[in-house]
Amino acid sequence: MIMLSRVAERVYWMARYIERAEDTARLVAAYNHLVMDIPRGSQPGWEILVRILDSDPVFDEWFNVRNEQNVLRLLIGEADAVCSIPYAVKAARENVRTTRDVLPDEVWELVNELYLYTSEASENSVGRRNRQQYLEQVIQRCQVINGVLRSTLCRDHSYRFIKLGQLLERADMTTRIIDVGASDFLEREGAAQGIEHLLWGTLLRSMSALGAYRRMIGPQVEKNAAVNFVFMEQTFPRSVRFCIRGIREELGPLTNNKAALRAVERTRRKLRNFDSSEFDQDALHRYIDDLQLIISELHLSVQSSWFHRDG
């Protein structure tokens, strides 16, 4: 089975962008839900979404005031902003458009339909009235695309690079949500008193982890247990540990995989013995910083091993 380096790179990014679009939609949807539940004055503010996505500089390019309207215009309404959902969808589509020959026909059609949907609906979905339906649509359509890939794509190189992209993006997104979420919520502990479980429930919900958490840990959502769950729970498909294990499996059959496997080992060492109850807020933040750095090194080693190799 032949796979061009350029094509491997494009399907990898296609998967990352689809995952990014879905995760961003999940995040906004969960937060949207939370806002309606908690009393006025306790809300941690919409700018937290911008921070989770590392997008303060992008925000400042487009807007001044950090309010609900502007944050959502950035994440939903602005197709040219690199952190927006329509941007991720457009980038995914460009990558599929140039790799149609290695993907099942339906994948192109579905990604194209998602693109047509977001280019038509995004601008009118900033307001609360259409927002939720829009986000659900994006999530569902991304899931359908992933489902088609899972059920029709041969387990060859294209599938492998798609999985690598998806799992790396997902692990990255999970650490982001915990990092900024945790620190900001803790700062506001005074104001958030009594609703902490609601806030953490929201974070879990954004990763579709709430139901699983309740069944495994219990109905009360508590910070340390929640952080441990999304980092370490080996049966939960969005946990960092689960993603890293998946990456290791996909790297196995590839030639020239030594550097990438070494990077995976570093991540696993970092994750081993993780226990959030041992961390205060600062230590958790430093830990997550380190982990994100290692994950981005993993990305770089994938890039240099398979995408940009000479000869």
């Binding site: 032949i2 796979m3 061009l4 458009r97 020239n256």
Partner: protein, 482 residues
């Protein structure tokens, strides 16, 4: 829509579906009957469904404009064009014969040049053409075939006969739309297939693969075939991807390939270099190898020409094939058929006046208002003057152009292109059309059943190119009795 059809009149032209009396031709009867029975609302809904299908299938082409490149949805008219298998069989034989002669001509030009020595074609008209590539002298591609894929444009004149208008031998495009048009018709007018047995067109990619695989320099069960595209910004990128996928071949860009010290072509893959046997080249030869052709090309592969001349890789179409894709050379095709094959041409060519001949030039300059004047070496319908539709100033402009550079101009009588019923707004109107079948040739020769029908959507217009607002139709070759 009954009323609409009953008012349909195509006078002065051959109409593909309707006789001069206004009744459907026999082969079109079941289709027209069904279309007549649809209400206006239903027909409009089918058109919308076709537009949605085209958008969702992502069938597009790129148009270049000052405002940037736009990816446009493929224009499609849902009323099919219907041709009998009996009539098509004759066209097919004519096209096969023509393609054989053209390839013998190209091979002769780059090798012994007997046709010049025998005075059938004047050497200077060929050797001075920008389509003649000196770098190809002495090359001998497999089976002596250079133009492995030929797209010939056919038109039907008022006499009902098909004429070859031109042969596209460089990188002809449009075949993916032929396949997709059938797919759209199946989706939006499924009932119409019930009373017909229509020759299928969707095996084109596998025919193409078979033809290309025969060019492999290595004896392998499944040779490594790649489609070389200039990239996503090319107007035909959709087609490049479509064909690569249909053949299960890699779609490569120049940067994916390199020529190693052993003079073989390799592609860069995640498992390291993999040798390439055959390249389906969808990039102009001027850009394919900066070592041999244009040095400033960033799209090509340095050393590709070296590898091909050494016989280490098959390239289709072979570089240099364009030498027969020239409107001056076109005028000599009937002579070539007699010269190389000792046969009578089975399909008509349009009478052609060569402005480089003094007598022809004089006639052309005196009859500009009756003639179509074309530059010898342009495609896409650019730089053409349709005499009867042009004003006096344009006539004068072309007269000057011809006198300045007679070698570069030819003229032909204005043909009365045939029409077919086309769904425009909420009416059924006659519109002019042409037909581009594709001829594949390596070990064997094969012609697509039908081809791509292109329609001039503007009333009276003869310009069918999609880059200039043309549309398209599904084209049926109907087998057996109805």
């Amino acid at each position: 829509m009954d009323k609409n059809w009953n008012h349909y009149k195509a006078t002065g032209y051959y109409d593909e579906l309707i006789t001069p009396k206004g009744t459907p031709r026999q082969v079109a009867r079941p289709a027209v009957k069904l279309l007549k029975e649809l209400t206006a609302e239903d027909l409009a809904a089918r058109r919308t469904a076709a537009e949605v299908a085209i958008r969702e299938m992502g069938i597009s082409f790129t148009v270049y404009s000052e405002a940037g490149n736009i990816d446009r949805a493929w224009p499609f008219d849902l009323i099919p064009r219907v041709i009998t298998a009996k009539e098509w069989a004759k066209v097919r034989l004519g096209l096969e014969q023509r393609s054989r002669a053209l390839n013998m001509f190209i091979n002769d030009v780059y090798n012994k040049q007997k046709i010049f020595a025998d005075g059938v074609v004047p050497a200077e008209t060929v050797l001075e053409s920008s389509n003649f590539k000196e770098q190809c002298m002495g090359a001998s591609p497999r089976f002596g075939v250079w133009a492995n894929i030929c797209g010939s444009d056919l038109v039907r004149d008022v006499d009902g006969h098909f004429y070859v208008l031109e042969d596209n031998l460089r990188v002809p495009s449009g075949v993916s739309y032929m396949v997709e048009n059938r797919e759209i018709t199946k989706r939006v007018l499924p009932e119409i297939f019930e009373n017909y047995s229509i020759l299928p067109v969707d095996d084109y990619p596998s025919r193409l693969y078979g033809m290309l695989a025969a060019l492999s320099p290595r004896e392998r069960k499944r040779p490594v075939v790649v489609v070389l595209t200039p990239g996503i910004y090319n107007s035909a990128y959709f087609e490049h991807a479509f064909l690569a996928q249909g053949m299960g071949a890699e779609l490569v860009e120049g940067a994916d390939l390199f020529v190693d010290n052993d003079n073989c072509v390799y592609m860069r893959t995640v498992d390291g270099p993999v040798r390439v046997d055959v390249i389906y080249r969808r990039i102009d030869e001027d850009f394919m190898d900066p070592e041999a052709f244009r040095e400033d090309s960033t799209l090509g592969v340095p050393g590709l020409m070296r590898s091909w001349l050494a016989g280490n890789v098959g390239i289709a179409n072979a570089p240099g094939s364009g030498v027969a894709d020239d409107k001056v050379v076109y005028a000599f095709v009937p002579d070539m058929i007699r010269y190389y094959l000792n046969e009578k041409p089975l399909i008509r060519s349009v009478p052609t006046y060569l402005c480089m001949r003094e007598k022809d030039r004089e006639y052309v300059l005196n009859n500009l208002e009756k003639l179509v004047v074309k530059p010898a070496n342009e495609s896409g319908g650019y730089g053409i003057m349709v005499g009867p539709h042009a004003d006096k100033a344009t006539h004068r402009k072309f007269a000057r152009l011809i006198e300045k550079d007679p070698r570069n101009y030819i003229a032909q009588p204005t043909l009365a292109l045939s029409t077919a019923p086309t769904y425009i707004g909420d009416e059924i109107k006659p519109r002019h059309l042409d037909l581009r079948p594709f001829i594949l040739q390596s070990r064997e020769t094969w012609v697509t059943p039908g081809g791509l029908t292109r329609v001039a959507m503007v009333e009276g217009s003869l310009v069918v190119n999609s880059s200039q607002g043309g549309g398209s139709k599904d084209t049926w070759i109907v087998d057996g009795r109805l």
